[in-house]
Amino acid sequence: MNVLVYLVPLALMLGGLGLVAFLWSLKSGQYEDLEGAAVRVLSDDDLPETPSDGRAADRSRERVK
């Protein structure tokens, strides 16, 4: 049973880590725009040829549609 003395606090710490992660994500505004987050993965803004004007964005628009 001595094993509980450190296993229980360890479990709580892991749970607490999850809570801290949740509070951090809340504070950093990740719940402000749930729909946007879902569709932002579709945009190609991480490709090397970073668009400097509207043209690249137009291309990605066509691709998505």
């Binding site: 809570l19 809340l26 719940y31 803004d45 628009r61």
Partner: protein, 735 residues
């Protein structure tokens, strides 16, 4: 818009010289719009940040002095999006409140999971071989998690309960708070006494379920409010302010102050209340008073924001809110009506008022009963606390919000933005519907009535001529244009426009201007205009048309047993035909705001519950005085703020959907409350008999909560009528 616009009142600038602004953006319809807008704005020199919120259609922009808000709005227009800056202090505090509820929910969730982990070990240990030391150890750890978690996550309930008690009333949060505090307190005592059972898990799980319901309820309403705010913002209230140097500058109306001079061109809406300094015109005040006949204006006359200017330009001196008698009147009536209304008690609170005393009395009687049959004091107190915990109104407190969330979502899809939380339960009781006429039963814009035997070519020509006219009536004709505008069209103020078409003179305007005579078969209420091309003459009526489905909706409402009436500020001659067309027997005309309230009070005196549907500034007090109120999105701003819900689009169908939706919702709420009571009827005797262990409490609590939530989901099931309702009401309303 080539003119520079002064947006300074929407901009906040930090010490480092970075300015920020928030804009409502219209026209966002796919995922790629995000990248298009953000990269497009970021490409402007000096812009340091552009972030689009896809859920609320708001764009946050930050820039250094090299850029300007004007450039941002213009770039958005180039990209094909309409945008208007936006001030949302109320929304910022609402967002903070939603984040706080979510934080509480997170804390309660964390605590509930970990305590349940420990509790299950204890429950299974209690029936097998757990040592008392291990059990106490687990209970103390549970206490260590539960007490701070409850102190934090319970705040929304504790605060609300304290507020209620301070004002000497009871709401659902009072029994919740008492239950949680007692459960935790008793569990600590039991743990100290090294007993078998503790209720830490029940208390925290209760908080978790309730917070989930509360957060979803709040978030659903916040979202519809944000969209309603966008629509209001995008109506783009601008005015030409004449600055000290005599030059007109285009500014948002929020920037106008008393004693500013504004210029109102022909066919424009007046941006602020004021007094006419110079100019001569007639204004259409249908949005203010419901009166459809234009009112002639001269120097010194008072005009109200939202009036539509006729064919002359006006210079107006802006007056502060309190100086115009009509607005004053409306405000005074509004305050009175609001004070009278605050007596309404929500269904859940009404239940709580009866429920809490019964529960607490039951617990007391149970304890006394056990004492009387010779149980120990400790055992009797345990029984009493078990009764309180098992009756803790988890299902009861979820019963109403769960239905509200699903029903609000369904009404949203039907084109209705719900403003007030308790609107659904109030609407379900309604037995009388009172409509305003102008802009509510009728469309907010004018429609053309062409004689059936008219020459289509002549109507098309009238439309082409109308494209060059700035007269408000011309807009109704311009939609029939058979081609582009005619070149070289001079406008004769007060008469009309004329031009050479195919070598023959064509005229559009008043009857005298076109040399036409008034045909006998035209309804006397219509405004008339004529078109002449050579020898051919056509006289057309321009009138407010009924909303396309008004007749059906009124018939359906009558079929649902509702008494339909009209209370209008317009003339009898304009109201009677509408009432006839809709088959409404009781129609009041020419009513002032105070008379509308008196009429509503008379109905209330007969014991009726009245739904008021109206859009004008003159309807605002009546909306506040009615049991429940709806307003079209085209209505005056004050009126929309008073309405319990705002409906979108050109159709009246959302009113019907609201009535149906509220009835379904109210039925489900009652069912849920019945389920919750049934659960208590079964559980309380068990608790009184001393058969409730923490395991039973946990099962009963989650079981009943899930049951009412699943039942509430039935409110989301759309009916067939909702399916065929406006596909894109929001877009239609903005356009």
């Amino acid at each position: 818009m080539a003119e520079a616009i002064d947006y300074s009142i929407f901009v906040t600038t930090s010490d480092e010289g970075v300015s920020q602004m928030s804009l409502a953006v219209d026209g966002i319809d796919c995922a790629a719009c995000i990248a298009e807008i953000e990269t497009g704005i970021m490409a402007l020199p000096g812009v340091v940040q552009a972030r689009l919120n896809y859920s609320t259609h708001r764009l946050a922009v930050a820039w250094r002095p090299e850029s300007s808000p004007d450039a941002v709005v213009r770039r958005l227009e180039d990209l094909g999006y309409r945008a208007h800056p936006f001030v949302g202090e109320a929304e910022a505090s609402e967002a903070a409140h939603a984040r706080w509820l979510l934080r509480c929910l997170g804390v309660a969730g964390f605590a509930a999971m970990n305590i349940m982990l420990l509790s299950i070990s204890v429950w299974s240990g209690n029936v097998s071989d757990i040592t008392p030391e291990t059990r106490d150890f687990f209970h103390w750890i549970s206490a260590l998690i539960a007490l701070p978690a409850a102190a934090y996550a319970g705040q929304p309930f504790f605060r609300s309960a304290l507020r209620a008690i301070r004002t000497g009333s009871l709401n659902m949060d009072v029994p919740i708070s008492i239950g949680v505090v007692l459960a935790l307190g008793m569990s600590v005592v039991e743990t100290a006494l090294s007993q078998h059972h503790a209720y830490f898990d029940s208390a925290i799980m209760l908080l978790f379920f309730l917070l989930a319901g509360r957060y979803l309820d709040y978030e659903a309403r916040r979202r519809t409010r944000a969209l309603a705010g966008n629509i209001a913002t995008l109506r783009g209230q601008m005015a030409h302010r004449i600055d000290a140097d005599g030059m007109p500058v285009l500014v948002p109306v929020q920037a106008l102050k008393a004693d500013d001079l504004i210029l109102v061109a022909a066919g424009e809406r007046v941006g602020a209340d004021g007094v006419v300094i110079s100019g001569r015109s007639a204004v259409d005040e249908s949005l203010i008073t419901g009166e459809t006949l234009p009112r002639p204006l001269e120097q010194g006359a008072v005009v109200y924001a939202g009036s539509l200017n006729g064919d002359g330009a006006l210079t107006i001196k802006v007056t502060a809110g309190g100086e115009s008698t009509l607005v004053d009147d409306v405000q005074r009536l509004l305050d009175g009506a609001l004070a009278a209304k605050s007596g309404y008690v929500r269904l859940a609170d009404r239940v709580a008022r009866r429920y809490a005393p019964v529960v607490h009395l039951t617990a007391l009687i149970a304890a006394l009963g056990w004492l009387a049959v010779g149980a120990s004091v400790h055992h009797a107190v345990m029984i009493a606390v078990a009764v309180l915990i098992i009756t803790c109104p988890c299902a009861l407190a979820l019963a109403v919000p769960a239905v509200q969330v699903t029903a609000t979502g369904r009404l949203f899809r039907a084109g209705l933005l719900v403003n007030a939380g308790d609107m659904l339960e109030r609407l379900a009781k309604v037995d009388t519907v009172v409509f305003d006429k102008t802009g509510t039963l009728t469309l907010p814009d004018l429609a053309l009535a062409v004689p059936p035997d008219a020459d289509p070519a002549l109507v098309g020509l009238a439309g082409r001529l109308a494209l060059s006219s700035r007269h408000p009536l011309a807009k109704a004709v311009a939609g029939r244009a058979s081609g582009g505008p005619v070149d070289g069209v001079p406008e004769v103020p007060g008469s009309g426009v004329s031009a050479l078409v195919d070598g023959v003179e064509a005229r559009l305007g008043s009857l005298a201007f076109c040399g036409a005579v008034l045909p006998a078969d035209l309804p006397p209420t219509d405004s008339v205009m004529a078109v002449r091309h050579g020898a051919r003459v056509l006289v057309m009526g321009v009138a407010q048309a009924l909303r396309p489905d008004a007749v059906t909706v009124v018939r359906e409402l009558t079929a649902r047993g509702l008494d339909i009436r009209i209370l209008s500020g317009d003339r009898e001659a304009a109201v009677a035909p509408v009432a006839r067309a809709l088959g409404i027997a009781v129609a009041g005309a020419g009513l002032k705001p105070a008379e509308k309230i008196a009429a509503l009070d008379a109905l209330k005196g007969e014991g009726r519950c009245v739904l008021m549907v109206g859009d004008g500034l003159n309807d605002a007090p009546a909306l506040a005085a009615a049991h429940v109120s709806l307003s079209p999105v085209t209505g005056a701003a004050v009126t929309q703020a008073q309405a319990d819900a705002v409906f979108l689009g050109r159709r009246l169908a959302p009113v019907l959907a609201a009535v149906d939706g509220s009835r379904v919702a109210a039925r489900l709420m009652r069912q849920n409350l019945a389920l919750a009571v049934l659960y208590n009827v079964i559980a309380v005797p068990l608790a009184v008999a001393g058969l409730v262990t923490p395991l039973v409490a946990a099962l009963a609590m989650s079981g009943s909560s899930i049951l009412v939530t699943v039942n509430a989901l039935r409110a989301a099931r759309p009916t067939r009528e909702d399916e065929v309702a406006d596909a894109t009401p929001a877009r239609e309303a903005v356009a």
